[in-house]
Amino acid sequence: MPETIQVELPELHQVAAFPIRASSDTDGHDTQEAVPGSHIFEVALGCCLVGGPIIRTEGVQKRFGKVEALKGVDLEVQPGTIFGLLGPNGAGKTTAVRILTTLLDLDGGSAQVAGMDVVRDAEALRFKIGLAGQYAAVDENLTGLENLELVGRLYHLGRAEARRRGGEILERFDLSDAAGRPARTYSGGMRRRLDVAASLVGRPEVLFLDEPTTGLDPRSRTDVWSFIRELQADGTTLLLTTQYLEEADQLADRIGVIDVGTVIAQGTSDQLKEQIGGEVLELHVSNRDETERAAEVLKGLGTGEHTVDPATGLVKVQAGRDGTSVVFEAVRRMDSSNVWIEDLALHKPTLDDVFLTLTGHAVAEEADTGAEAPRKGRRRRKEART
């Protein structure tokens, strides 16, 4: 009789495509194929589900009238990780979150969260997820505790249990002192904390935070960051959207960069920076009117990617692998064409550089009308951000 059962899984997520073997001893005697329906198959399938991504979307599309908000979004988020969805306003971040939290139907593709289809299993899925939207969605007239009690009772916890859980969460979010005060008297940071607290009452497996720090002062932002990390430590999977590169860099295990409805890159912060492949030369000209001329002079340097910001006199050059020789060449060219430099620096790429490079390409693909289009697009973006 077999004493131990070993299940060999060729590769998680792909298990169904491979024969699964269960053997009773190490040298493979008494080997059984796991056929669908058998106990061993169930075990193997269970492992597969546990091991797979907790959020998976394939080709998710959404349109609002003529506007294509999402044009085929593919995402994978592993359990227990923080995934940052990074993109400018209007990129489709909120639409994606609304689809994943069952608020919005999708027009194409499919999406699963916690093993459930967001459309077919919407009702069951709502027990597994929490959402803190872009606005602090708290009832102004209810106290902090009553707000959490309200949510708890709508999860069909008993009144007493809803209160107890509410009190516990308020304590954790440092809101116990304000528990009996109407939320209308709360500061912006406290409201945001209460909002996130409310999204935790149902003890969600997956928590969605849509721009959790937008509009907060730096101190409240740091607070929000620290409790996001705490939540992850407790085993919650988090998907957060942000327009702040720093935030994604600080918090997210993996980042998806989204622009005009498409995920244009996915990976860890380091992987994304790697994509740029090298260093960045940043140069400010003394006379801002000469910014364009400086860019002209520096044309062709490095990998050929430029970013120009006439408002601050900044020219950024993607220097590639050999940053030092690009610096020398840049200085020589500036010297011979008499453009004075205020400062000049060579540094490793930041996520900011990644973002500009990536979205620049995206605009180029979309416009596809000539070499001028991408640069214009990038410049506009840069201006909007400074």
């Binding site: 608020l103 606005y135 209810l142 949510v151 709508l154 999860y155 069909h156 008993g158 149902g202």
Partner: protein, 282 residues
């Protein structure tokens, strides 16, 4: 630790129904706490109908000839009760639009609660609020000379009718609120809708005095049936006897059947339509 969490959606029809009622009551509780905490909103909502009573009672009292029953105060107040029920239900639309704006509806929609609960809760809390409004209006009515003359049961019938009308209009307003969404636009739309419905009816004046082209509309306006039923129950048959001809325009049975039918039909349309809008919100 108690484990009362329902970790999966209920499957039985009865269980689902009970949970929907529970969720609706929880939302209603939340709305009522809001009304209680910010009483100024309620106070101003009460001031407006008082103003209506006083204006109509003292400005128009002798302006209208051929008032059924002969006494304008007796004619006016039941109409005012119905008018108030309708105006009072407009808060349903505004409350929903405000919840939408604040993102609360998003939160509710992401929770495993009944899809009917936010609307049922709002219409229920507005019903409770409108009960206070009706009782206050009856009090004001008594101060300016109105009296129920058909006994307690008939008076309770008036209150029940008025509440049913306010509940019905709450669902209509819920539909408008969810369809239009922006608070200011909702406010404007609701009043543009409600004013003609109430004024082109027998709420304040007999239909016989209106422009000829309006008369058929006013006559078939459900508000006219409701007002006349409220009058009949308040002061008896004299309320529907045309002073010019001396003939009763309706029988009590006719008024009851038509009034109830309108309420049932409107609810049967607007409850499912508004819940569908709620489900499909974007």
């Amino acid at each position: 630790m108690s484990t009362t969490t329902v970790a999966s959606p209920p499957t039985g029809l009865v269980e689902r129904g009970l949970l929907a009622v529970n969720d609706g009551l929880v939302v209603a509780w939340r709305n009522l706490v809001g009304i209680w905490r910010v009483p100024t909103v309620l106070v101003f909502e009460l001031v407006q109908p008082i103003m209506f009573v006083l204006l109509f009672r003292y400005v128009y009292a002798n302006a209208f000839a051929n008032i059924p029953g002969g006494d304008y105060v007796m004619f006016l107040l039941p109409g005012i009760f119905v008018q108030n029920a309708i105006f009072g239900s407009t808060t349903t639309a505004i409350g929903l639009a405000e919840d939408l704006k604040r993102g609360l509806i998003d939160r509710f929609r992401s929770l495993p609660m009944a899809r009917s609960a936010v609307l049922a809760g709002r219409t229920t809390s507005d019903l409770a609020k409108n009960l206070i409004l009706v009782l206050l209006m009856i009090g004001i009515g008594y101060l300016v000379g109105f009296r129920f003359q058909e006994g307690l049961l008939a008076a309770l019938g008036v209150i029940a009718l008025v509440l049913a009308v306010s509940f019905t209009f709450s669902w209509i307003c819920a539909t408008v609120g969810l369809a239009i969404k922006q608070v200011e636009a909702v406010q404007a739309a609701i009043f543009t809708m409600v004013f003609p419905i109430v004024f082109v009816s027998a709420a304040f004046v007999p239909v016989a005095g209106m422009a000829a082209f309006l008369q058929p509309i006013a006559e078939h306006n459900p508000v006219t049936y409701w007002c006349n039923l409220a009058r009949y129950l308040s002061i008896g048959e004299v309320a529907v006897i045309d002073p010019a001809t001396g003939v009763a325009s309706y029988t009590l049975e006719e008024l009851i059947v038509k009034s109830v039918l309108w309420i049932v039909v409107l609810l049967a349309i607007f409850i499912p339509v508004s819940i569908r809008l709620y489900r499909k919100l974007t």
